[in-house]
């Protein structure tokens, strides 16, 4: 085994949280080794959006770029939920087994992490959603306040170049967004007329995509392909923002293809470093005064549990798992929209985002223009999903309604429950012999009630916009396909019920820190998490002392 030292801090994971932590430390003059399990992507050559068969390709997979997880059996589906059954008119229902389909954890390993394929929504969490326990009696309170996080939100937005509107309701701001909002696409304008008819607010979404050139990056050209990887670099994924800024200090070294296998401990309640696997199978020991974990809400608890249950004095590591509570509804409009034109998720309705916004159900949600994000991205998918049947009549229908689809998405609060957790699979291991993470996820009735309300509102918005011919619905009720996951190393003031303290440090281990969404005590009302992860990471790196 080789050994390496020489960095003030080692960060595990180069996604939203790890990249922001690297930048936060480097700007303080601290040297950082940023370890990433996955590869470095090459946007020009790896991403498919200039290729003739672009619609048949997805965000690329490279060796080591996908995470291996296993799933506990899916939840048995009870009752009938006509608004929530996933499927399309053309393809039929997705799930016919009567059990929630545990399809996939949509996580990217690579320098930039899951931000490489994220849509790029850039949201601050609703201040009230940080106090779910004391205000509403569910989940747990954040051991901090919006006001304390606000300066770090501003710093992150400035580095990314977030484009957004003047105001966002309860999310008060000390400074405006660095860039003006993007103009609404034609489809978003159509949906905006429906929102107005319903008396709903409908505004430009705040986006980590440049509305003007910023820090040497070009403005967005509205190709609609954010989820396939941005070849231009205008999308504010972590590798073109925080990683680039950390590297520019000269104090950061990034190592891709370097999975961390174990965290090692020493005397005095301190960790000493990590063991890193290499593609050739060899293992390297890297020592460091501080270890910062940022592998996401599935892989961070896995690493801790695989390190003999490190930092699990409370027994909470892996518990309180919250997944992506989402529903997307697609409908045909009488007039052509060609809704893939423009920025995905360019418009949003925050009216139901507060935790008490849904009558009789705790936890909020937001609705958005999901037309570009629903991945109805090419003619073939449209022909398969939007138009039933086959033969000449099918062909004629495809010709008649191509481009008429609109989609509305809704993402809501996901509350923790005792059944949803991450643990180590007792049978499955990776190539280094480390047990894989096993995901158990189920929804309680309040989550399903929230989903019903979300689906109802999405349908109402489509109908009010003139698109009442619904042809597909996808929902988390019968389909686990999470990309936003939270809660498995909860932060809190009480060491008995949380893993890290309000600064982001392990309650016991004095130099072990976490800066990813695993620390979220509650998920928020559907906000995209990356900006909050980054703000928390910047805040945590300000707390890390190098004299203790």
């Amino acid at each position: 085994m080789k050994s390496a030292a020489g960095w003030d801090a080692v960060i595990v994971g180069a996604g939203a949280g790890g990249a922001a932590a690297a930048y936060g430390l480097c700007r303080r003059g601290v040297s950082v080794l940023l370890l990433e399990a996955g590869p470095q992507f090459d946007p020009i050559n790896d991403y498919p959006l200039t290729e003739a068969n672009w619609e048949l390709r997805d965000f690329p997979e490279k060796p080591g770029s996908t995470v291996s997880v296993t799933f506990a059996p899916g939840q048995k589906l009870t009752g009938t939920e006509p608004l929530l059954v996933s499927g399309s008119r053309g393809m039929g229902p997705v799930v016919t087994s009567g059990t929630r389909w545990m399809e996939r954890y949509y996580h990217v390993r690579g320098v930039g992490g899951t931000t490489l394929h994220f849509t790029g929504e850039s949201h601050r969490i609703h201040p009230d959603a940080m106090k779910m326990k004391s205000r509403f009696g569910v989940a747990a309170d954040w051991p901090t306040y919006y006001a304390e996080l606000e300066p770090f939100y501003t710093q992150a937005e400035e580095l990314i170049g977030v484009a957004g509107p003047q105001t966002q309701g309860a999310r008060w701001r000390s400074r405006g967004f660095p860039l003006p909002p993007h103009p609404l696409s034609y489809a978003a304008q159509t949906l905006g007329r429906g929102a107005a008819a319903l008396g709903l607010d409908w505004q430009a979404n705040s986006r980590a995509a440049l509305s003007r050139a910023w820090n040497g990056r070009p403005p967005c050209n509205y190709c609609g392909g954010c989820n396939d990887g941005c070849p231009r670099g205008d999308k504010g994924s972590a590798e073109v923002t925080f990683v680039a800024a950390a590297l520019a200090t000269g104090r950061c070294v990034v190592r891709s293809d370097s999975p961390v296998l174990r965290i090692e401990v020493g005397p005095g309640d301190r960790v000493t470093g990590v063991l890193v696997g290499h593609p050739d199978g060899t293992i390297e020991r890297v020592t460091s005064p501080h270890v910062i974990l940022a592998c996401g809400a599935v892989e961070t608890p896995r690493l801790l549990l695989a390190s003999d249950g490190l930092a699990n004095e409370s027994g909470e590591v892996g518990r309180n798992f919250m997944d992506t509570l989402g529903v997307t509804v697609g409908a045909l409009h009488p007039d052509p929209q060609h809704a893939r034109r423009g920025l995905p998720s360019d418009a949003i309705c925050w009216d139901f985002n507060a935790p008490d916004a849904i009558p009789g159900v705790i936890g909020g949600f937001r609705m958005y223009n999901a037309s570009g994000e629903s991945e109805l991205k090419g003619l073939a998918e449209f022909a398969l999903r939007a138009v039933p049947g086959w033969g000449r009549a099918h062909a004629q229908s495809v010709r008649r309604v191509w481009g008429h689809a609109l989609h509305v998405g809704a993402i809501g609060e996901s509350l923790p429950n005792q059944h949803s957790r991450i643990d180590l699979d007792p049978d499955q291991r990776d190539r280094f012999g480390i047990p894989l993470a096993r995901i158990s996820a189920s929804l309680d009735e309040p989550d399903v009630a929230r989903l019903r309300f979300m689906a109802t509102k999405a349908r109402e918005l489509l109908a009010a916009s003139g698109a009442d011919d619904i042809f597909e619905t996808y929902s988390a009720w019968d389909w686990f396909g999470a990309s936003h996951v939270f809660g498995t190393c909860r932060m809190g003031a009480d060491p008995a019920s949380s893993v890290i303290n309000g600064d982001g440090r392990s309650h016991r281990w004095r130099n072990l820190w976490i800066t990813d969404a695993s620390v979220f005590p509650s998920s928020g009302g559907g906000e995209a998490p990356s900006l909050t992860i980054q703000a928390l990471a910047l805040r945590t790196t300000d707390k890390i002392g190098f004299d203790d």
Partner: protein
């Protein structure tokens, strides 16, 4: 729920069907007549319209027939179609006229027999995927080219 894996969707939809009784005493093989039947079904499903070529002209059927991992499904599906044809007074599916062939395909989609439904769904899926991804077909529809490097300068206005 952001990434829709079509193959996974399809795979799941087709999972869980109990092996049909007739499978227990009948083992079909993929052969030339299977391929010919697949070609005919593909032609019926994607005949072309509005001056566009059909799937056969574009040789979509050859791509489907070349998918060796689907040969067993195709063989069972063709066996089911032939069985349907016999029930309806013909020696096999290829002996039916076009109207009856279409009725047989409709019956396959609606069948509770997993082999029949799998065959119909798979042929529709791979047929549509290949046919509507064909450059000659895409060229007849607006906004089907690669989204980069130009993007969509007209994104704020009605479609051109």
């Amino acid at each position: 729920m952001r990434r829709r894996d079509f193959i996974a969707i399809l795979g799941l939809a087709l999972l869980g069907g109990a092996a049909t009784v007739w499978r227990s005493f009948w083992q079909p093989r993929f052969n030339e007549r299977t391929a010919q039947t697949v070609k005919v079904v593909t032609d019926l499903m994607f005949p072309g319209d509005g001056g566009l070529p059909g799937a056969i002209e574009l040789k979509i059927h050859d791509r489907i027939i070349a998918m060796a991992d689907l040969h067993e499904t195709m063989a069972y599906g063709v066996g089911w179609l032939d069985s349907w044809a016999k029930t309806n007074g013909a020696s096999n599916f290829l002996a039916l006229d076009e109207g009856a062939r279409s009725a047989a395909i409709d019956a396959a989609f609606a069948s509770e027999t997993e082999d029949a439904r799998q065959f119909a769904v798979l042929l529709r899926y791979y047929g549509a995927l290949n046919y509507y991804s064909e450059p000659q077909i895409k060229a007849a529809f607006p906004y089907t080219g690669p989204p980069q490097p130009e993007g969509f300068p007209d994104f704020q206005g009605p479609p051109q």
